[in-house]
Symmetry: C2
Subunit: 566 residues, 2 copies
Amino acid sequence: MHPGPYERHRELLHQAVRAVATGERCAPFTQTTWRGAADAGMRSSRTAAKVFASLLGRPFDLGQPGELGRVATESSPYGLAMGIAYPRCDPAALVAAAGRATAGWRVAGLHHRAGLVVEMLRRLNTRSHELALAVHHTTGQPLPAAYRAAGPRAQDRALEAVAHAFAESERVPLELRREETRRRGQPLTVCGTSTLVPRGVSLLIGCPDYPLWNGYPGLFTSLVTGNPVIVAPHPRSVLPLAITVRIAREVLAEAGQDPDVVSLAVAEPDQRLHQRLAVEPAVRIVDFTGSGRFASWLRQHAGQAAVFATRTGLNTLIVDSTDDYQGLLGGLALALCRCSGTARTTPQNILVPASGFDTDEGPKSLRQFGADLGEAVDRLLARPARVSRLLGALAGDEVPAAIEEAARYGTVVHASQPLSLPGHPVVDVRSPLIVRLGVRSERVYTREWPGPVVFLVGTESTAHSLALFRGTVGRHGALFAAVHSTDPLVLAAAETAAFDAGVHLVENVVDDLSADPSSFIADLPDAGAHFVTGRFRVLRSRHAATPTGAGADATLRRPAAALLDV
Amino acid sequence: MHPGPYERHRELLHQAVRAVATGERCAPFTQTTWRGAADAGMRSSRTAAKVFASLLGRPFDLGQPGELGRVATESSPYGLAMGIAYPRCDPAALVAAAGRATAGWRVAGLHHRAGLVVEMLRRLNTRSHELALAVHHTTGQPLPAAYRAAGPRAQDRALEAVAHAFAESERVPLELRREETRRRGQPLTVCGTSTLVPRGVSLLIGCPDYPLWNGYPGLFTSLVTGNPVIVAPHPRSVLPLAITVRIAREVLAEAGQDPDVVSLAVAEPDQRLHQRLAVEPAVRIVDFTGSGRFASWLRQHAGQAAVFATRTGLNTLIVDSTDDYQGLLGGLALALCRCSGTARTTPQNILVPASGFDTDEGPKSLRQFGADLGEAVDRLLARPARVSRLLGALAGDEVPAAIEEAARYGTVVHASQPLSLPGHPVVDVRSPLIVRLGVRSERVYTREWPGPVVFLVGTESTAHSLALFRGTVGRHGALFAAVHSTDPLVLAAAETAAFDAGVHLVENVVDDLSADPSSFIADLPDAGAHFVTGRFRVLRSRHAATPTGAGADATLRRPAAALLDV
């Protein structure tokens, strides 16, 4: 007999489950690829480029219900004409279709669902280069960075999410403990079963910079736990998620499942599609990574849903002292430039005592630090090859406007300059803007700025820096925080402040630390295990253990349709 | 050396953790008591009555901060003058005090916290009779029912919550997987730790009918996971939670912890204290059991908090057919009467095909069923001893008004009648009101009615009953649903409908099935494992594995206070 998807991927899945439980590393997709595409299905980058080119200027078909027309909202910051026309479907029709698909997906059961999801990941893996091109051309990220954020590392991260979801679901005991009660004086045993009941239709609101990296955990966790997903990308970066949705629908259809378990929702940017879908009564889960403001909006208006929001917020670096001043400058310059300041490790706010700080090269004033940092950035960007590997093209108009505005609020330590990218004459690439501010300019540095806008905030002392960190990040969130200090006491105080603010902390790592690909749970400061367990409920049915006579062998008195069709 | 609270209760705790994982029964408090108070500290009911009497007409002291005055809001439906004056504290002062207590409670660590919480339960256990009297006199429940809901069974339920919280917290691996990165071309190992960070101040909004049964899971889960708790009882039933808070504060103070880890918040009913506390920015967790309307209000307005709301909603019974008509009538009559219709198994809506249904005594019309049910109720209440054991005194004015109003909407099948309770001449006790309605009266039966108000709703068919059940309970929630059918197909369809509606289902159990004392997770249809994992976050700190020279042996350059006092 033909093995089912679960049997086919059983070993991989259980390997991942074991790794998650013990904290070992399990990154089959990354490891395969690094070894040189051991998977024969992995398309070469050249084939991928052809496939990618064949998508441009064409309708992108998905066969979804309720199609009203077509929208093309993307434009490549690298100057390529995209013109991909996605189906614009009636949101109500998509929600209704997802609702209809729910029962079948629930009944498919955990094992079958997990098997199909791993199959989706395996196919996505063979399309890594194509997905990287899609991310590159919609977000403006350099191609190597796009490959990291869209390829095998993103698939490993998704697999870890799948393993978590599988393990949490399997942990629920399905047989209920037997209870003793009494019937007319006779002892009666009541037994029963627990059932994992998915919460309902799930909505993934895509983010413009990391559509797959930030989108996969929610998408695949919802699928494994039995919830259909409507994927609503950011209008600026539709293609990576559209390809993902198409592959998911193919896998579903081939397995005889309703393809509407996964669908794509797009619209013109002014149609407020995300807001509209988020408040649909049938939408019971919302995943979102982005601004604290929209996260608050969701919490306030999408009360019918469990909202999993990760706030990008105010990435913060606290500098107290260092025994590696040159390392600090070099690593920081790298972090400021990477992906034009959109990497998750790019700090927006650097908190430094205004009186300066101690280093292995003697005390440094704030002014000196600013000048040295500016120089380190210039040194890094002196070579055009590095520029094209590190920085990305700016997508959208808001970054240039933001750079211009931010420069007005303080002393410009390093001006943002247009850079040229070899072979791309029309591309808009900028070096980071570094502005020195006083602590009083709170209105400026507590705003979330797009792109390479960095503030050097002079505080009264490190204690003051920590208080500021606790307050600003506690209110606005952050993906990343780091501290540099040679003083164990400062490190301990910084840890406590990070816990209060609700953010992970990196201590004294001068190098730009990339996000760990396979620790998505730890990566989501607002989530934890709740990221999985919040997507289903456990419901039980109880009945008498002893057959109650007639009931046990009652013949069916009416056609099934009459009852199940309600 | 004196053993700490964790060492002292270690065995009991781990026994409970094992039971939770395997689905075995672990009910040490119930089992001890049933065997006749093996715990030498268990006070006799006579001593308890004396202690209880000594509380009446007196100030109830707690030594809390921000005391503004005193409030006495309780009156016993059994005619006893309560007059207990609780401290009314400034809500902002209570929140601030809980905030100050947070750091110490977090630092105490999981094991110490769990040990102290088990110590609280052990002391509550010795006060079971006193707590039962407090519930009896504030809720009006008969004394045996109050003992079940406030004594050892409630403590076992709390212990199960503690075991869940402990196990979920322990499952998080604290050592991070080592990552390899590079420093100036040299390989660098980054390692780190994960820390469970409690979410913040927790608010327990007490319910009037089952203040301890419904309150303990949230209270003790929050405490074990490191969150201080402000307990805000319903003004009608303060004493049971006030005694609980006093015991908790004693245990905390004796262990050198800040007693404000647990505090009591009371006010005059018109001061909207629950609403005020729920929206405090520092309140990050809210537990509530009660009306769907207030649950919606919380979700809409307390967006800063994780809201764990259990909606009492529309308990529903679906009757399709039975092979034990007399059993059904007897069990149902019992369920309608128990605790004057406030038990969690009391149905409000009984859905029956208007054309009648099959039984082992032949087909029964809806009219006949109503008449038989009314008779069964009368038969049950014919003996005064049963009345005092089963029914409770009505607390508050809303029940008599509701009974009067509901009778106007349909055909009264069984009129609610005043009953007398031997030895309690002034007590207001009523038999259940049963009203027959058409399906069109949706406005009536989708309201949540207090006390013994029951609707017999005539539907078009069982399929129609199931659709109605799915719709009404899906929208308004329910604590309990049951179905009677001899047809396996109906049972299967009812299970699916219950999953869609999000409620547990009891099948063909004619007897009134009391809630399982030690399966609180299964008891909370809106929660599951998320009930625990939603109360903390996992945050990590990372640093280079190799000492970075100067940093490793740097002398402390400034006094600790300067840094930690921020």
